[in-house]
Symmetry: C2
Subunit: 340 residues, 2 copies
DNA sequence: TTGTAAGCGTTATCAT
DNA sequence: ATGATAACGCTTACAA
């Protein structure tokens, strides 16, 4: 039922190969021929059969984006950017949700979706430095995030230590001295939490402040609920504090909610800051101070690195480590005047 | 480089067809043969070439989900559900963002991604009733949302009039009399806004309350920013009101923010309610009263309808109109005690 | 229960 | 500048 190249060729009075040439932008075609072919294509409503092309050319024009969960605002926003930028590169994006489960992240690496995708942008949450070797996969891949550094593939991330340090410096410059940190994952020496924690420690040290273990709160999944719970634990413990740094925005928003619902004023009594600059931070009450990790730049860099690997031009180039630019956005929750 | 069926067959000492049979679960195979084949598959790390299968069998195992924007929390959460449920049905999901642009929504209908997808779940935002005919596409499709009813394809939605009526009834039962509505799109007689507006009018009528045109506020894109702006306009107009109904949650959250930042207490001075039950509504301050439109049920129904059409068993069945169950969730923003 | 042969729609090679 | 022909890896008759 669908129209094939053969039919287009017949109607245009040319061979299949010529149609193929026209479709693929092969330059050496007489203008007359080209327009006859294009007419036939339009008239018949021809649509290239991607499966056939893929089988023959062994590329599909599809890339996979593997993220933990689309419900996490950061990953929804990241996915939006990757899809948009992939489109600019004539690529279609297939999203895999790993649920942050180790098994599913590993499965992703060994399957590669049966030759279906030309490359993968992978944002792991369960795999860690020990698994770096497993990233030696037989297809182009770009790694995101802070779980694995110096692995065998191109990697895009930001300088989490520096970014986190800036947040805490900002809190300190606002007069805060007892800064709680929410979202610690203590059994991990690496990863996002560890890096942001290090930035926190460095900023405290710079200011001559001693870190207090009771101000460092673990929080399970990094969502609003865990942020609220941790904050309530902190409040119940009776420990004094004048600021909360949520290791991501949803934790911070949960903290905000817990504080306000116990009658604590933000930023007057306690300042709150987060990390990620998700859209919601500009619309919470008060608006949330946070760090923009340069989502668009990350997405664009990742797609471009992947494309260059897919083209196979850089086979000799060693894995690249790219750091995107971050930017602190002071907002109401830390006592700044209203801003965008 | 990749392993083919041929190689598996050679190693197992059988024909390609037998390997194919094993892979596809064809029942009449001797156990000995089957296990030899499976061994070979494991040993060689064989991965089916999906392009080849698709070309031959003309199905890919991929469905497309077309949504306006992944950054809109409702659609992020819907996509998460569709991907998860599609997985249960051995389907992979490819997400198309239409940007709510008419051109791109139309393009989607005429391309169908070049035979790449076996079916499409389409949530339009720009197309309307007049475009119903265009849904007569040569591939299985399931329609979501409130833009087009009684079109030529299966359709999943909820009873928006009834759901909206319940929200407003709830506000009235809490003693509210001057209920503002934010998010009206006045030039449209159909679609989500029109239906929810009708529910609003019906609930007012039931209670013997006269609708006031100055309480009905248009809002452009349904996001936080538009919700906040509209609320500020309302406040500046000097019109009295004791409740705000945002036609979706992000509008309501924007309203909440505008109210609180002008020192208006919620729910004491003004009650606020939204629509969609996005995760954030459970973590705002105060938590937001809203309607759960049954996202999981919508996703599941959509996938199941699509699968049944893809199997071609229901070719004779007329387009089905399915309504998912909604549920009102009263929370703090309308004066209820704290709930989940 | 398993094998043989044909062909899905495209692109690559090699002519012309 | 264009055409003929052979793959690509799999499934589907049909045979055996």
């Amino acid at each position: 039922m669908p129209v094939t190249m053969r039919e287009v060729a017949q109607r245009a009075g040319v061979s299949v190969k010529t149609v193929s040439n026209v479709v693929n932008g092969y330059p050496y075609i007489r203008e007359a021929t080209r327009s006859r072919v294009i007419e036939a294509i339009d008239a018949l409503g021809y649509q290239m059969n991607i499966s056939a092309r893929s089988l023959r050319a062994s590329r599909t024009g599809i890339i996979a984006l593997a993220v933990p969960e689309l419900r996490m605002p950061y990953f929804a926003e990241l996915s939006e950017a990757v899809i948009r930028i992939a489109r600019e590169n004539d690529l279609t994006v297939l999203i895999e949700q790993t649920g942050a489960e180790r098994e599913r992240e590993l499965a992703l690496l060994s399957s590669a979706r049966g030759h279906l995708v030309d490359g993968v942008i992978f944002s792991p949450l369960a795999l860690g430095a020990d698994d770096a070797d497993r990233l030696n996969v037989p297809f182009p891949m770009v790694l995101l995030g802070e779980r694995i550094f110096r692995g065998p593939v191109d990697h895009v991330s930001i300088d989490n230590v520096a970014a986190s340090r800036e947040v805490v410096r900002h809190l300190i410059s606002n007069g805060r001295r007892r800064i709680a940190l929410i979202g610690m994952i203590s059994h991990e020496g690496v990863g996002t939490a560890a890096l942001r924690f290090q930035g926190y420690l460095e900023a405290l040290a710079e200011a001559g402040l001693a870190p207090s273990p009771e101000l460092v709160l673990p929080a399970g999944p990094w969502n609003r609920s865990a942020g609220a719970e941790a904050t309530n634990r902190l409040l119940d413990s009776g420990v004094e504090f004048d600021a909360v740094f949520g290791l991501n925005d949803t934790l911070a928003l949960g903290a905000l909610r817990a504080l306000l619902s116990r009658g604590i004023r933000v930023p007057n009594d306690v300042a709150v800051a987060g990390f990620d600059d998700i859209e919601e931070t500009r619309f919470s009450t008060p608006t949330l101070t946070t760090v923009d990790p340069g989502r668009d730049q990350i997405a664009r860099t990742a797609v471009e690195l992947l494309v260059s690997r897919m083209k196979g031009q850089n086979d000799e180039v060693r894995p690249r480590e790219i750091f995107a630019d971050y930017a602190l956005h002071p907002r109401q929750s830390t006592g700044e005047p209203l801003t965008g």
